[in-house]
Symmetry: C2
């Protein structure tokens, strides 16, 4: 399932409105098929893995990160049917599909065909991997990641405005990889005017990943999709993962609206005493600040540290 | 030597103007004596270890974190002579004593008595353990540690001023332990008036550790030693380790004067968008901020993270 989850992660940011799923087909001790949801949402992970396995799918175990779909679409057959037709012996599934067209029907179909089904394996990681799809299904909006690249004292620039660079090349490369995992990137008017950010993915081999550019502003700007308030992210079709990159006012607006699900904090070992990374959050007590964030991962990137937090209350 | 360094650390903050030294006497496979500089500076670590070892010191190896002193004082004999008289076979020494009354003479005396001497073992850690003594010897001022307890975004209070508590009980207990390792604690006028801090050591068994209370201010205050500028720390007799606790103006004043040698950053997993932990440092370029701090240690304290940095340029 770990390998299937790694495959699922490959599609993150490029499959909306479809979920990014991973599938491994294992026959005896041999991996016979690997698949992940392709850009645009098709083929599905199971279809890709079955195509690779061919006749070797017969009697195999299918590890799938999300319940196989049960609904026939003009773009292809239901994956549950395809797995049955291929003759798999067993299915191991991380989570059931909340999409009401499936929602248990895929599992029922497999079981009715005599296939042994196990669910819940790797569930927590699978939920994180398709957080964008689940957020859209349950909350009607994209999964929002807020990125902050700061000094040890939480600043994003000197008092003069100078901000290039606080973090080092390793941290900046990682931040570009994160961009490739999001359908869209959002900045505020201040960042647009101060930095004219390109918001592209400057990594070898990933230059073609161009997330949509969203502007939080009450005035439109050429080449930018503009929304007037954080709540308007619900209207962004085809965006299941949104990366909020700056600046301090925009970050605070999303936090005040309780619309941040994940934090990426890149911190460089410098002290600046400059411009804070967050504008006023309007908190009236410290109690209200505690218990909101859970540390998920931390690592060094060169001499900088990355910390990843996720929403503690879901 | 690791054990001797741990013994040396016990005296930190209570031996000024003497260095806090550790000594282990090992005879064959048996530890026969352990000593560390006692509060006030006497007895020395070697004297304590020799008293414990008695006749078992004959033929032993002495592990000492600092070169044994070579000068007789009214308060006791020179440790080099005591080790020779006790008949030790070998001495392993981390660093030589920069005090001009010793500075190699202790090692010479041992060698002249036919004792095998090895130096430089555990040198980097030994320098950190007696950083206060070395700083006073070389720079004529105490070792300065700046403590900051902040949110993830570097704030020390809400906009309303509320600051209790950002970090949790484990981090606060650790900060109290750090107080016990310093001869004096300094705050600024703003912190004095806002918080009336007690600056005591609220840990079971350590309540008697009461570091001197220093105020950075142009006006005197009752029960406080007052200095007008960060540079005046050089005048604080009997203070080899100074802990700077707040607030943002005071921290910035010490950083601007390049008088901070060590950073203790306690960070709680909260976002505040409130009062920054550091006032303006007056930096004119980011280049000037980089390369100053080296990460020495990091650990979790409950749900908070402690990071310890040290001056990278010495």
């Amino acid at each position: 399932m770990g390998a299937a989850l790694a495959l699922a992660a490959r599609g993150r940011g490029r499959t909306a409105p479809n979920p990014n799923v991973g599938c491994m087909l294992v026959n005896g001790s041999r991996v016979v098929g690997r698949g992940w949801t392709q850009p645009g949402g098709r083929p599905h992970a199971e279809a890709m893995a079955l195509a690779e396995a061919g006749a070797a799918a017969r009697g195999a175990i299918a590890y799938v990160t999300l319940e196989p779909c049960a609904h026939v679409s003009p773009r292809g057959p239901a994956c549950a049917s395809s797995l049955i037709d291929a003759g798999i012996a067993r299915a191991v599934i991380a989570i059931t599909d909340p999409d009401r067209r499936t929602n248990g029907k895929g599992i029922e179909a497999l079981q009715a065909a005599g296939i042994d089904v196990t669910t819940g394996v790797g569930e927590a990681d699978a939920r994180r991997t398709i957080a964008g799809f689940l957020r859209r299904q349950a909350w009607g909006r994209p999964q929002v990641t807020l990125k902050l690249a700061t000094s040890l004292d939480g600043c994003i620039a000197l008092a003069s405005g100078e901000s290039r660079w606080i973090t080092g090349p390793e941290a900046r490369a990682h931040a570009h990889l994160e961009r490739a995992r999001h359908e869209a990137i959002l900045v505020g008017r201040g960042t647009l005017e101060a930095d004219s950010p390109r918001l592209d993915v400057r990594l070898p081999g990933l230059e073609d990943r161009a997330p949509r550019r969203i502007l939080l502003s009450t005035r439109a700007a050429e080449d930018w999709t503009t929304i007037a308030a954080p709540e308007d992210i619900a209207t962004l079709d085809g965006v299941d993962h949104l990366l909020v990159e700056g600046g301090a006012q925009t970050a605070a607006a999303f936090l005040r609206a309780d619309l941040v699900d994940r934090l990426l904090l890149y911190r460089a070992p410098v002290l600046l005493g400059g411009k804070p990374g967050l504008a006023d959050l309007g908190l009236t007590s410290l109690d209200a600040a505690h218990g909101r964030w859970r540390l998920l991962d931390t690592r060094m990137l060169g001499s900088d540290r990355l910390e990843v937090y996720e929403r503690a209350r879901t």
